[in-house]
Symmetry: C2
Subunit: 354 residues, 2 copies
């Protein structure tokens, strides 16, 4: 197998008891705008953490040999290094890139997971590349029609898991129902919401509202999703009236980017106001910390990335502009998904439905 080091790794399949002890996260060292430096720095922060759960995370670094050496030497017992020679760039066509770049960090990391040499995968690289590679190599949970990208939206009144955030631009009611089932499991097991309220993103509250697909999905979800709480409207997202909001990847991607653009734009306008006069500067200095806290609270970086749900192993994608702190949190979120055995929960839920 091209590009894999000869290091003998322990073989612990996904379903082994090993997960309750140490989780091995394959880390795409080449993914992200400031890779590999920022990724390595994020990994180092995590490895230095004294938190008990953090100490139970080992890393399989995947990337250019020279980028991996220092951290491998620094933490020889917790870090494996797998050298690769290619990178899937953000603007490449995912299917083409995954097929052609067999020695890319994303493809190799997925292969390590498939072979049981890592339990989960985190990348701040190409979302499409990771989704495609993970679907082809790691594989879908049996019965899942389409994996989905979930995104945690940090609203002041609580986090909201929105899916699909962009993997599937054309969906059926059945896909949407499966997204709901997967989102419900993730919210309960990883986000710690005992009884998640699941909403279907739509143009009105009534079951007769929306596109034909949305109407059909409403009926399916009412039948089979325990926490289904009806249609969610656009205004409900930031109000956090629901813990999980389900939609197609077209609407999900657009609504997330619109909200992201709006937050960035509003804070930029606030900044202009604060710098527009001396008296404003003085006033701004007083409330600066509180405003900063609000901005941090709304910062998607602190969340640690978007889980891809419906795959046979946990895969989490970080923002391309991830800081070292975001990478650190992303690895943490990936390990949590493995520890909580999300793929196994999803498999059980789908199998039960028959």
């Amino acid at each position: 197998m091209t590009g894999l080091t000869e290091t003998q790794l322990n073989d612990s399949p996904l379903n082994s008891g090993a997960l309750s002890h140490t989780v091995r996260v394959a880390l795409d060292v080449m993914g992200g705008d400031d890779a590999p430096d920022v990724v390595i720095e994020g990994a180092r922060q995590l490895l230095k953490s004294n938190d008990t759960q953090d100490k139970a995370i080992n890393l399989v670094l995947v990337g250019a040999a020279e980028a991996l050496a220092a951290l491998r030497e620094e933490f020889p017992e917790r870090v494996e290094a797998v050298a690769t020679t290619e990178i899937i760039e953000m603007d490449e066509h995912p299917a083409v890139a995954v097929k052609q770049k067999k020695d890319s960090s994303i493809v190799v990391a997925c292969r390590l997971v498939k072979e049981g040499r890592a339990d989960a995968f985190f990348s701040a690289g190409s979302t499409g590349g990771a989704m495609t590679a993970a679907t082809l190599i790691i594989g879908r949970v049996r019965g899942i029609k389409r994996p989905a990208i979930a995104t945690v939206i940090p609203a002041p009144k609580g986090n909201v898991l929105l899916l699909d955030a962009g993997a599937n631009t054309d969906v059926t009611a059945e896909y949407l129902k499966q997204f709901a089932a997967m989102g419900e499991i993730f919210a309960r097991e990883v986000m710690g919401v005992p009884q998640p309220r699941v909403g279907l993103l739509n143009v009105g509250e009534e079951d007769s509202k929306g596109s034909q697909t949305a109407q059909d999905a409403y009926a399916l979800m009412q039948e089979s999703i325990a926490g289904f709480a009806g249609n969610a409207e656009g205004t409900d997202i930031f109000k956090a009236n629901f813990d999980v909001i389900v939609t197609d990847g077209f609407t999900g991607n657009i609504v997330l980017k619109a909200m992201e653009g709006l937050v960035a734009g509003l804070f930029s306008e606030l900044k202009s106001i604060f710098y527009s006069s001396t008296k404003n500067k003085l006033a701004a200095a007083v409330i600066k910390n509180d405003l900063g806290a609000l901005k941090d609270q709304l910062d998607i970086e602190a969340i640690g990335g978007a889980p891809l749900l419906g795959l046979q192993a946990p895969v989490v994608i970080g923002h391309g502009s991830s800081s070292a702190f975001a990478i650190e949190n992303g690895i943490r979120a990936t390990a949590a998904a493995a520890r909580q055995r999300i793929p196994q929960h999803i498999a059980a839920a789908i199998a039960q439905e028959g």
Copy 2:
């Protein structure tokens, strides 16, 4: 015809030269959360304005007789009154309500426009009711497959016209192309943008991105929309990189409500910060005016409503929570659409395409 007063109104068909002089706007006095009082007050403000163009607007008030009398007496030469006995409520099913409530203010106002007794129609009532009544009674421009709701988004760097904002949850590429053509005309003629940049809302920049419908629409728009500037992403909305952004009514409605909810939520968080301590209160007092100006700038109310495009006469819908000021601006926007002969421009553009 039930509910119409016997007042003899001048007969001036839509296409007559009369439009360049005085525009007669049919006003739904019963539409809006605080109707009829707020609607009458907004109308009064407009009638009292000394602006030359405002003075060229006459009103046909449509609603409960007792609500109309005072203003009719106050401005006998500029106000006609048409008494009605029914109201289409916000939560009624539009098609059913329009069919059953033949003496509702919305249905009667549309009939007045159809008969040439008014040139255009403004309502802050049920959007669905107005869209349904206008489509059935006033009728579509020949060749237009589906009328669309357009909404002006007030972004700091410029206004953006987004359509469809909710009329058509299921669309074809052909509908989207027509929305683009109509939006381009409205932006040029009413918003005053000489060469509007028209974008297709999508999940990425490349023409290969998005749903099948979006990809097909991209090709159609590239062929026939003069100002087509490619795909717009969610982040582009608030950046105002485009003057017109085209999407289906499902995505459009959700993205607008999400942005509305986010703005409301953020300003509410800012308010909490400002009131959280004495020192913050003092600092907030300093920047209060500038912040208020920003909030006003983002306020959809100042815009005056959402035009329904593709009908044989201008119809504009105000927000249900419209203030008197919003009503005043809504009437103004409706008159502007009539003055600029938007339906005629749309008809010409569609006819030219053949």
